[in-house]
């Protein structure tokens, strides 16, 4: 029983981390109708910027204050994401207003490769470290109840709290601020939004910047866990089943989807994996998402689109 609970908790916390990446997908889709395949590359780019800026700032400060170096690096990386957002709007999206969703998706595939290439060219392709003081050792609880106790990964726990906080802030941003409402209007219809005076170009820069900041937070957390290297770009693949399941337009959907996928893949790997040779968690997550889609094609929290003809 103890092991089951431990796996369950591990899955929930992993799920929160997937949600963090999934949020980037949701934000851009919700606000611009673009399925941003480049979200994983944005996580990599942001994490590379954070790691290298922190390293350079720390060296410039004489290695005395890692905290100050990290703060400088955070703002530096945020600025880099602003440049990315501006460049995407200026050189890519501006020309593609009202184009088909498939065209926009293909464009984000292109952005993926450009960001991965530029990121590694500018910041390097080694493994870099982000040290934001996350605890690495586990804590064992309830040893008197369960043999061996229940292991809680402190780093994952803190990461899950940060993800939850970010979700809360984003929900407020979308629901309660004029910019948030403008973003939702743009998502519904580009032309209609323009006709009532919403500046499309500025809105797109804002939304890509917000997604960039989410990518930066995800990059810091994942980078702290795994080291900053190319594979961070692949965490987006872990978030895809989350958005399929949760729905592309729902922030709470990204969270619930993340939790279901996280728990589903860990339990499947531990309890079904040994029966079929193991290594199943990645494709099992997709299978789980597809099963949900059989019953709710729009995802758990996605908007049901009705086209009248």
């Amino acid at each position: 029983m103890g092991f089951f609970i431990e796996t369950l908790i591990g899955g929930l916390m992993a799920g929160m981390l997937y949600s963090l990446v999934a949020l980037g997908f949701v934000l851009i889709f919700k606000s611009s109708g673009v399925f941003n395949f480049a979200q994983g590359a944005m996580v990599l780019f942001a994490a590379l910027a954070m790691a290298r800026f922190s390293e350079w700032a720390n060296r410039a400060l004489g290695g005395d204050s890692l905290l100050l170096a990290n703060i400088i690096a955070f703002f530096g990386a945020g600025l880099a994401m602003l440049v990315v957002a501006w460049a995407v709007e200026r050189f890519v999206l501006r020309k593609l207003v009202n184009q088909e969703g498939a065209t926009l998706l293909m464009v984000t595939l292109g952005i993926t490769y450009v960001l991965e290439g530029i990121g590694q060219t500018v910041f390097g392709s080694e493994i870099y470290n982000i040290d934001v003081g996350m605890p690495k050792d586990p804590v064992i609880m309830f040893e008197s109840i369960f043999e061996g106790g229940i292991l809680i990964n402190k780093e994952d726990f803190i990461a899950a709290l940060i993800a939850a906080l970010l979700v809360g802030l984003l929900t407020l941003f979308f629901q309660k601020t004029p910019v948030g409402r403008a973003l939702r209007a743009v998502a519904d219809d580009h032309q209609a939004a323009q006709s009532i005076g919403i500046p499309l170009n500025r809105i797109w820069v804002i939304v890509w910047l917000v997604a960039g900041i989410v990518a930066l937070v995800a990059g810091i957390i994942w980078g702290s866990k795994l080291g900053v290297q190319f594979s961070l770009a692949t965490v987006a693949l872990r978030a895809l089943p989350v958005v399929i399941l949760g729905g592309l337009t729902s922030v709470p959907g990204a969270i619930v989807g993340g939790l279901i996928i996280g728990v589903g893949e860990k339990l499947s790997e531990v309890y079904i994996g040994p029966m079929v040779g193991g290594g199943i968690e990645i494709w099992f997550a997709y299978m789980l998402a597809l099963v949900f889609l059989l019953f709710r094609p729009q995802g758990l929290f996605g908007e049901k689109i009705i086209n009248r003809v």
Binding site: S125, E126, K136, D137, I140, L151, K225, L232, G279
Partner: protein, 443 residues
Amino acid sequence: MKFRALALAAAISAVGLTSATVSTSAYAQAKEQFFPVLVYRTGAYAANGNPWANGYVDYLKLVNAKGGVNGVKISFEECEFGYATDRGVECYERLKGKGATVFQPLSTGVTFALTDKAPVDKIPLVTAGYGRSESQDGSVFAWNFPLLGTYWVGADVAIQHLAKQAGGLDKLKGKKIALVYHDSPFGKEPIPLLQERAKLHGFDLQLLPVAHPGVEQKATWLQIRQSRPDNVLLWGWGVMNSTALKEAQATGYAREKMIGIWWAGAEPDVKDVGAGAKGYNALALQHSAEPNSKVVKDMLELVHAKGQGTGAKEEVGSVLYMRGLISAMVAVEGVRKAQERYGKGKVMTGEQTRWGLENLNLDQKTLDGMGFAGVMRPVQTSCLDHMGASWVRIQTWDGSKWVPGNDWYQADEKLLRGMVLNASRKYAEEKKLTPRTPEQCKQ
């Protein structure tokens, strides 16, 4: 409009400039021995692929700086394949026609894919420390050279080391050993040997595959926490290794009980984990990090000091840099040996180089003279043994650097030979090949 025209002109100039650079620096020229270099400098495994490639290319430059192979200069061309088997095969197809001397794909997946092609194209495949374990049998695998060691050697030495710590092979009975492996041909390669050893000595083998690229291992390490194996063997590459060490730390599994294969025992695997990996052991394919070796000093003096180094100077002598360097060295020595038979100062074909690799005899005196004293032990190949050596050490990460142990191990020849012959004969039957006879080997 002006901007577009300018951008177009710049792009055309850049392409032209790149082509010009490649054509002058890399393509094979007459009287040059051409070495294709399959690399992955980008992608999920770049952090490990880069130092290997730098060591490999730097050694070729060092040979040229010393006058070439009996006067024959070396040319080379890199082909980036991102550790993807299909792209690796594509690189092979593209470069084989340029007079390739040997191919070294640094990928077991690509090795499997090229094993059937190499005999047709008559180009040797050198797979130093990786590839198909049964390809040690040169009577069947005439074109494969898993020089210095195979994964069966690695797995065997790991078990020998654990047995030594436990007080003998008989003390392994009842113990539990988990193999955390990259779910690919590379990761699966040691399984037959470990299963054989488990049967012989009565230990329980737990197999835990990790999907590419290996960034998600939480479930794996929760299983380890539950089953509490006495030891964990780590068969990883790239980010999988550092992730495994971080998960071991996060689940409280002692790093001292872990042994990694030699591809999980380099600086990129532990640097990011730092003190968290302290006590972690890994196999050393003879060498460890060798910053004080003579060959490294030569490299710094004759290549890097002249501004011709491929990577950063600080990287020279690191574990994977040395692996790349040694991989290049054995291939170059194959050419040198071939020249003894087919004519000194001549460019060797793939077929002639194959003979050189099959008759390699690098004794300690030769190695020491080449600057490999303390780095390598003798290598001697034959028709029946395309591996040439099976020396392995254990190195331990002390939190900031790798510390090589003093004990040298060799794989159990009796056990290994039987397994190699069984597997190679099976391969020969499947492919309808007739193993070469001793007489044919002499030709």
